[in-house]
Symmetry: C2
Subunit: 330 residues, 2 copies
Amino acid sequence: MKLASRRAGRDGALLVVSRDLMMAVAAGDIAPTMQAALDEWDAVAPELGKLYERLTAGTAAGAFRLENASLDAPLPRAWQWLDGSAFAQHAALMAKAFSRPPIETDGPLMYQGMSHRFLGPEDVVAFPREEDGIDFEGEFAVITGDVRMGADRKAGGAAIRLVGLVNDWSLRRLTAVEVKTGFGWVRAKPACSAAPVLVTPDELGAAWKDFRLQASLEVRRGDELFGRVPADEMEYGFDELVAHAATTRDLCAGTIIGSGTVSSSRYADVGSCCISERQAIEMIAKGGARTPYLSFGERVRMEAFAQGGTHSLFGATHNSVVRSAPPPER
Amino acid sequence: MKLASRRAGRDGALLVVSRDLMMAVAAGDIAPTMQAALDEWDAVAPELGKLYERLTAGTAAGAFRLENASLDAPLPRAWQWLDGSAFAQHAALMAKAFSRPPIETDGPLMYQGMSHRFLGPEDVVAFPREEDGIDFEGEFAVITGDVRMGADRKAGGAAIRLVGLVNDWSLRRLTAVEVKTGFGWVRAKPACSAAPVLVTPDELGAAWKDFRLQASLEVRRGDELFGRVPADEMEYGFDELVAHAATTRDLCAGTIIGSGTVSSSRYADVGSCCISERQAIEMIAKGGARTPYLSFGERVRMEAFAQGGTHSLFGATHNSVVRSAPPPER
């Protein structure tokens, strides 16, 4: 089934969305919010599934046409966002461009990011300064149920409730400063945007295999097709990322785990999912970065399609980048 | 005033605590939970303050003797935990012991940590393996109201609602692995413990100056006094830490900002607030670390006292360390 959240307070109001993403229906009688549904998943998922089938069949009372502009992020705030870096090709390009040794690690790379606000698919995204190097990062993410500390890969995979698409906005000049401290990113990684719908793994069919998406992520910067990148080179599956995250902590229902920027060794043909990777490719090929970071007023669109298909898996993010208003004088 | 949370569900039930920390009274009629109080602070703080005065005067109906064992962390789960490293002395000792250059940074060091579970003051704390190098870290923390992106130091200071004490449990052998990746800590930093009460800055009186605590943090490992460390060498005030955290993001009410391990240049006299700092001192003085990390069954106690006084500011954490149970077979 497919779920979304209409704008309503800090947690949104739960919607069920039809298979073709055209129609929606309020699911508040079953669970008021996405987080509430995740907290009581085993009890509510069957009821949500029945409503989904009725909606898709055209027999759900109160169905209405889905408008992305009315949507918040499907999980507008989450208790935990752990973002991996599971596409080794991306890390290899970055290391080569900057003549750095590969990052030493004994497992997946992962950082804890801001989770108290995820932006809606058509929200305006505000940053203080263009000079910080505003970039997008297209990636996939899963939402888990409760996971016990020490869970193995099998338990990690079984805990995946929903799958979605995230644009992990990044400020590259701050990324470079913060990564050197070893402390990870705070200033460099503000709120992410999320695509309209989250989808259960069973609903993805052939587009979900070995806990990886068999899908291409299409990224547009304004009118330019920036990338249409197949996600089949993911080094660690989401089952492994969940288990890694749970090594020394319990995960709560509603934990979001990200794949990191989708990247392909066929980058010359398929492009990239972030500006910084394209800059790295330019540095390697041409001796210098040519593609600029985003300016205020630019728009970025992301949408994922099952491999070889035209079926939109999660709907599209389509965000404008603007300068943030200064805080009010006290 | 002083606030705590009785164990009740995932968010606890709000209590007001008397000035001497001996008595408590349920505050559910004013706000059900600490997070709810923080969300509506301007409306509820005056009411909570009146109840606090009645409780301290011995005239509050329903007052009962405070038992730490009945308490959860004062904010049992939070949307955001950003932990600084504002005691330069600690960083200097670590760099010297490991012959590393100082960390390059243009502001306070800060990472985003696990916030969906803070453990209560007397909770048992479970870890999977002693070999991960189980350590404690005594530090102070503030809880903020809503803060707008770009807030300056003045606005940062004005947003501080409550002050408290945190034991930031750390797994040192994993810290060393993860810091090298630049991604910060996920496996190395599981759930923290928190002292029983949070206190408003005005209540701290002379123990709160320039957005720093004028207090000593007493740490006991079993029967051994491990440190009684004055916190007056904090390089950045909490006003600066809040402003740093808000450089490129809004902070939500209930954001927790930590000072990092309390540390003093008079360490030879006052000791340390974590094992790893004492090991660093031993490496510098004696050529090798002698103090072992924690074993299962050990107990750690932390309590803060106003400088030169015997008045407990936040009550004590007193946690046993145990081996975590393996997750259930599926």
